[in-house]
């Protein structure tokens, strides 16, 4: 068995074990495990609109997780996808509301580019701190993520608040219907093609370009890369930028797709779940695609379950946590490699 296959099998085993542990906890707490799991199957696959809903959630997870994969290739852990995602969505919203009369195609294009740019800026700052001063990017990207959430809150409660809005949560105005790429379901051929194209592109960049190979060398041993004449800082910044651009893009797809307007604290978990997706996907593009679909299904099920069982929604977040926990234990090797990296790039 090749080592890649072995790792994949292990990961599947761990996911199954997480399910079993969760089932046990539910059982002990007096829920019917059978009902809950049939609810999960319904919510993710069989109920009307369930599989669409699964795909709808898989899309942002996939895009952000690809960003994590890219960062990791160069030896960095960008876990701030949430903030980059928010900033992307806000920028696309600003363009779309500011230029309502514009031709739809052009506005969407500009909005998407602005979203990616915002994602880039939001991750480039921690990236710069990292390559310049050796600041741990796990902390800084996380902090930037919190700032991003607060900026969203400020914008939706202040400058971008919908004055006609009722309801208790602050939300923006809706973008014109003409700018939307999907209906409320969040899935359309255009979006699927776009995401598929981006995925293939990311794979090509990582595996079939000199930049991708350079990132791998830097991620594995930055000292050696420097001796080989590689500009380690520039490669690091490039990885951070690409990583942020993907998260920003996810924000634009969310806005032009299912959301149409921004609500304070929307999709609050997606950026963090994406990190788990990337890890479960073994930091490999195709593995990440599979993991994103899986977690998209889980997300859809979480939203569906309260309808058919008396289970409170947080109970399933337990399952998320369990998978994340077990998979992360397996990834202690990741941290080890990171330690070597810090040593090599600082200074």
């Amino acid at each position: 068995m090749t080592s890649g296959l072995r790792r994949a099998v292990w990961t599947v085993v761990l996911v199954v074990v997480s399910f079993l542990i969760t089932a046990l906890i539910l059982r002990v707490s007096g829920y019917s495990v059978g009902d809950v799991f049939s609810g999960i199957i319904q919510g993710a696959i069989t109920a009307t609109g369930a599989s669409t809903s699964s795909i709808r959630w898989a899309i942002p997870l996939l895009l952000i997780a690809l960003g994590v994969v890219v960062g990791f290739r160069a030896g960095f852990f960008n876990i701030g996808g949430q903030g980059q995602f928010y900033m992307g969505a806000c920028s696309a919203l600003a363009i779309s509301l500011g230029w309502r009369e514009g031709p739809a195609g052009l506005v969407i294009l500009c909005g998407t580019l602005a979203a990616m740019l915002a994602g880039v800026l939001w991750s480039l700052f921690p990236g710069w701190l990292r390559v310049r001063f050796g600041t741990d990017e796990v902390l800084t990207t996380l902090m930037m993520s919190f700032i991003g959430a607060l900026v969203l809150q400020y914008l939706t409660a202040g400058p971008m608040r919908n004055p006609q809005g009722t309801g208790q949560t602050a939300a923006s105005e809706r973008i014109p219907e003409a700018f939307r790429l999907t209906g409320g379901s969040g899935v359309s051929l255009t979006v699927l093609l776009l995401v598929a194209g981006v995925t293939v592109l990311v794979w090509l960049v990582l595996e079939r370009t000199r930049f991708g190979l350079t990132m791998t060398l830097v991620g594995r041993n930055a000292t050696m890369a420097r001796w080989q004449g590689i500009n380690v800082r520039r490669v690091g910044l490039g990885a951070f930028a690409l990583s942020g651009a993907l998260a920003g893009l996810a924000g634009a797809v969310e806005l032009y797709g299912p959301a149409a307007r921004l609500v304070t604290g929307f999709s609050p978990e997606v950026g963090f779940t994406a990190v788990v997706v990337a890890l479960v996907g073994l930091l490999n593009v195709w593995g990440t695609v599979v993991a994103a679909i899986f977690f998209g299904g889980l997300q859809a099920a979480i939203l569906f379950l309260p309808i058919v069982t008396d289970l409170p929604p947080p109970a399933l977040v337990l399952l998320h946590g369990m998978v994340a926990f077990l998979v992360t234990i397996k990834f202690r090797a990741v941290r080890r490699r990171r330690a070597a990296q810090t040593e090599a790039t600082a200074g």
Partner: protein
Amino acid sequence: MTAPSGPAPAGVPAVRCRSLGVSFGAVRALHDVSLELAPGRIHALVGQNGAGKTTLAKVLGGLQVPDAGDVRIAGRDIPPGDVRAAKAAGLAMVHQHFSLPPSFTVAEALELTAARPGGRAVYRRGDLQRRWQEDVAEIGGTAALSTRIRDLPVEARQSLEIVRALATEARLLLLDEPTALLTPVAIDSLFERLRSLRDGGVTILVVLHKLREVAAVADTVSVLRDGELVLGPAEMSEVSQGRLSDAIVGPGGHADSAVGVRAAAHESTETLLELAGTSSSESAFEPGLTAVDLRVEAGEIVGIAGVEGNGQRSLVSVIAGLTPVTEGTVRIGGDEVTAAAPARRRLRGLRLVPFDRNAEGISRSAPLWLNQSALRLLGRRRGRSPLISLRQYKRQASEAMDLWRVRYDTATQPAESLSGGNVQRLILSRELADGVEVLVAAQPTRGLDFAATEFVRRSLRGLREAGAGVLLVSSDLDELFELSDRLLVMYGGRIVAEFDGPYDRRAVGDAMTGAVR
């Protein structure tokens, strides 16, 4: 983890292993190896790069589970892969690859890993350092006890590995190429220590490459070739040098053809590398450069002699562009590159064999082909597709590695799975592949078996013939004398003397100690 008391009963071999077999994929690292080592003697183990020496040592130490066979140490059965049992039977090991924890200070690392008797649970820092001071000094180590392992140069790390192993009251000592990184003086004092340990009843198995060293220290010698024990253990007095080297290379092994080194064509009097009044600031273990003037012309090998730690590292790093120049200039191939990025120097034809092959020369977890292809990733290729052909990369890498006789299974295996000497070959296969203008080679034959050493020396001469320039930094005076057209001596970050052949060993030696200034 206590050392067993007293020597093993007479007549019981210190080590006895039977029919050991280890395979990695298609590579047979050990095949049907049976060996008995008599107690209280120094046994040398020799063989070409990749012959299986390290693998054998690891099996004995319980670090590698064999596919077949069994191991007994001092009459006790050692379950396969049981490190503790091996230690309990009195075994200590000096690894070819360093194993001290990088973020610990020297004293901490020694205390934690040496399992020296009489330790306490809690220490004052001063006490801890005092406890280890003598050991470090004895082996000629210069490392300050409060330095972190990761900040030490490779040579100092190597001597600490030895200190650690000697400090345990081991009855069986395995040393895997302990001399590869040591200065001649340190080698002498190591051998002295080994002899006195032997006289105290300790059994020693030492992996060596230089037959001179084997003759100097060993009582018996064993030879591994392609994973098989082809000779020994035989008394040193009973094997001639010729028979020994035949056993090592095997039938037809001597026909190692010269490598086709390709260098850029040159007018023969061009200056390819020039440092003029170059200075740099000092680093942790090295003086910086002070007003260094140095020229390497086309078709010339210039040697740099000096005791380790006199600025050689700074010199290589300054030329590579990794240490900034504070004063003076650096030119490569006539272009000033004083402030140029490392990439530009590489593209200009600079090739480097760095001191620390495992940390600076390769990426241990990356596949062989990527390590081999690293230089192809530099620079822009205008008008070419941004996509590359992995198949082509892998093919080119395999060809270059085959040319250098790197012993590997597939091009996708990680570089860390190569034997020590094969890592060096991998680096050379990359640096000498194409378009060499100037080669700066730091200890290029370190850890190579003698056939490979010859091969490298021939290649360096080949480069000279092809009109490239070579700057050879070495602590091996014989190598320097043999290859250099001119010899410069570094002391305290300066070039203190220049010699033309034929060289006077005494005069060069004096210059190295700073006697001529």
